[in-house]
């Protein structure tokens, strides 16, 4: 793969020069990942004019932030509030069903024996690897034929099917729960159901939290599914609502200049508002995430 001369040259990088090259690369990447976020946070404090004229990294004023806030929430008689509410209902509704359905399933796949177990496991793995969006149009066609399109259920139910969560739970129960403990509970007279609720479930609290986190973030950010399933603006989640805001921004859509038009800083504010719940969850769970994200696969 690598000839001796290449390796020799690379080895020379080891010292001072190698270290500084590494430092430059890491720093450039920090800028690449952080600059858009920092800029976004500053943009919402500016007026439309200041955004294009002043230094991109200058701080605007509280007054402009408030003005942008009012413009955003006044759009279409408060449509943004409705969209955020919808997002919350869809994401949390799907989250609850995901947990009720998925955690026992992962447990059963790991620790009980039944005939279709292997088939269901293979199905889970395959569907888990299919990209989310690949099934959206087929699901639309299916739900269309049963007349569910436009109903909140057309978004909540497909999102509740979360094979990755079942897989995580399965891995956890098959590697991290001492089976003697479950056996002891049985000997002490627990029913199988009690073994699950009183012994296994409390021990699985970290994995339940992890599944909840992934489910929430994925549901909140889902675009294609609600975009296809919900024809009416009243039913949009905020991610789809952003397209309406974009369409009302003259800077990106000159034909939209009118009474209900949106300025660039307001659109930036909409972007922040649309991810705020996810951002908060992210910041609070960063530490446990880093350990959790790798827990699924690195235990051999």
């Amino acid at each position: 793969m690598s000839s001796p001369s290449v390796e020799h040259r690379l080895a020379n990088l080891r010292g001072w020069s190698g270290r500084s090259v590494a430092g430059v690369v890491l720093t450039l990447c920090v800028f690449f990942f952080a600059v858009p976020v920092v800029w976004l946070l500053l943009a919402v404090t500016k007026s439309a004019k200041a955004l294009t004229v002043s230094n991109p990294f200058s701080i605007g004023s509280w007054h402009d932030l408030v003005a942008n806030w009012h413009q955003l929430f006044a759009f279409s008689d408060g449509a943004v509030t409705t969209w955020i509410g919808n997002s919350a209902v869809y994401a949390l509704g799907a989250l609850v069903i995901t947990l009720i359905v998925g955690i026992p399933a992962g447990y059963a796949l790991a620790l009980t024996e039944f005939k279709l177990r292997r088939a269901l496991l293979v199905l889970t793995l395959v569907v888990m690897l299919i990209p989310n969006t690949a099934l959206v149009l087929p699901i639309f066609l299916e739900l269309n034929s049963v007349g569910l399109i436009g109903s909140p259920l057309s978004v909540i139910l497909p999102m509740s099917f979360f094979p990755f969560g079942v897989y995580l739970t399965y891995i956890y129960f098959s590697t991290s729960i001492p089976r003697d403990l479950l056996a002891a509970a049985r000997i002490d007279g627990c029913t199988e159901f009690q073994v699950f609720t009183r012994v296994a479930l409390p021990l699985a609290a970290p994995i339940v939290a992890l599944v909840a986190f992934f489910s929430f973030v994925q549901n909140w950010n889902n675009f294609f599914l609600p975009f296809v399933m919900l024809p009416s603006s009243d039913g949009y989640p905020i991610q789809v609502g952003l397209t309406s805001l974009l369409a009302a921004t003259p800077a990106f859509n000159p034909s939209s200049a009118g009474s209900d038009s949106i300025q660039l800083p307001t659109l930036a504010l909409a972007t922040i508002v649309s991810i705020l719940p996810v951002l908060i969850v992210f910041l609070f769970s960063q530490r446990f995430l880093v350990s959790g994200m790798t827990a699924g696969g690195t235990k051999e």
């Binding site: 059963a108 299916e142 199988e192």
Partner: protein, 313 residues
């Protein structure tokens, strides 16, 4: 298997009946509870995994009146003048994105892992990971700003490259690279964290042994860490490849923001969407969806059978 029903409270107190079987550690007679626990999940899996796939197959091979159409829908969509350009767009995007993803994610993970200062390594991972909170439409919207020289935080950089207007930036030739950059910006951090975790799992004894034998940092990275990461790199590659074939939200929003400088049938998924909702041709849409689904399934099948990541039975 014993016949005792474990969920039956009447016999729940009979301990001698539920002594665990030696070996696999699964409770004897836990069959019924197993079925109960997976039933709802199985229902969802059938409703939103199996049935839609089968329904797409049915639609793809029938015409609007429900009659058998053979390969008619497939020849129609493949013969559509928009089909091959869309395939090409997605393919070029995938090549750029995957190369970028593999090279930079693995490189950055190795570099971050080599940092001795604990806080610096943690802070770097956090900064790289943060954009992951902005996914879907939000991240695309943010990048619309970044790519628009009138408002962009890097307008100087854009102008230095000769891009004076938004339309100049989003010329069709630039789109695959732009989509790759957006996808990399949102997705790379998560993978860096995963690779970092995998690197942490390499036993220090192996690394120390190599150091004793005189291997430098670079040699350790190339000869020990990289081979041990191979499975994870393959995992990342296949997951990203399968997800990338479904490109939709980026071109969709860019098309909307650019007054159709970017066509709204740029990617295959957009074309399928056009078939379903502009032309009212669900059979054609199903044919495209099926092609995309088969590609995704093939990729995951190759991965499940060859990758070995799920070999734990």
């Amino acid at each position: 298997m014993t016949i005792a029903a474990p969920s039956d409270p009447l016999i729940a107190g009979a301990p001698e009946r539920r002594r665990p079987a030696p070996g696999n550690g699964r409770a004897p007679g836990s069959t019924r509870i197993g079925y109960v626990f997976v039933s709802l999940y199985a229902l969802l899996a059938v409703a939103f995994g199996v049935v839609p796939s089968l329904y797409a197959v049915l639609l793809a091979f029938t015409n609007g009146d429900g009659g058998f159409a053979g390969l008619g829908n497939f020849t129609k969509v493949v013969g559509d003048f928009r089909f091959w350009p869309a395939v090409l767009h997605v393919a070029v995007y995938l090549v750029i994105w995957l190369v970028m993803l593999v090279v930079l994610v693995v490189g950055l993970a190795l570099l971050v892992h080599a940092i001795r200062l604990r806080w610096a390594s943690t802070a770097l991972r956090f900064v790289y990971y943060l954009p992951g909170a902005l996914a879907g439409a939000s991240s695309v919207l943010l990048w619309l700003f970044v790519l628009d020289p009138t408002a962009s935080p890097v307008s100087g950089l854009l102008r230095a490259f000769g891009f004076d207007s938004f339309v100049a930036v989003i010329q069709p030739g630039h789109l695959p690279a732009i989509f790759a950059i957006i996808a990399f910006w949102t997705g790379a951090g998560g993978w860096i964290v995963i690779m970092y975790g995998a690197l942490n799992n390499i036993s220090t004894e192996v690394i120390e042994a190599a150091q004793v034998d005189g291997a430098g940092r670079v040699q350790i990275a190339l000869r020990i860490q990289l081979p041990l990461l191979r499975k994870w790199i393959a995992y990342m590659g296949v997951m990203s490849l399968a997800a990338g074939t479904q490109l939709f939200v980026e071109p969709q929003l860019l098309s909307q923001a650019s007054n159709a400088v970017v066509p709204n049938d740029y990617s295959l998924n957009q074309l399928a969407y056009q078939y379903a909702f502009q032309q009212n041709d669900f059979n054609g849409a199903a044919a495209i969806s099926l092609i995309l689904l088969v590609v995704a399934l093939l990729l995951s099948w190759v991965f499940v059978t060859r990758g070995g990541l799920f070999e734990r039975e």
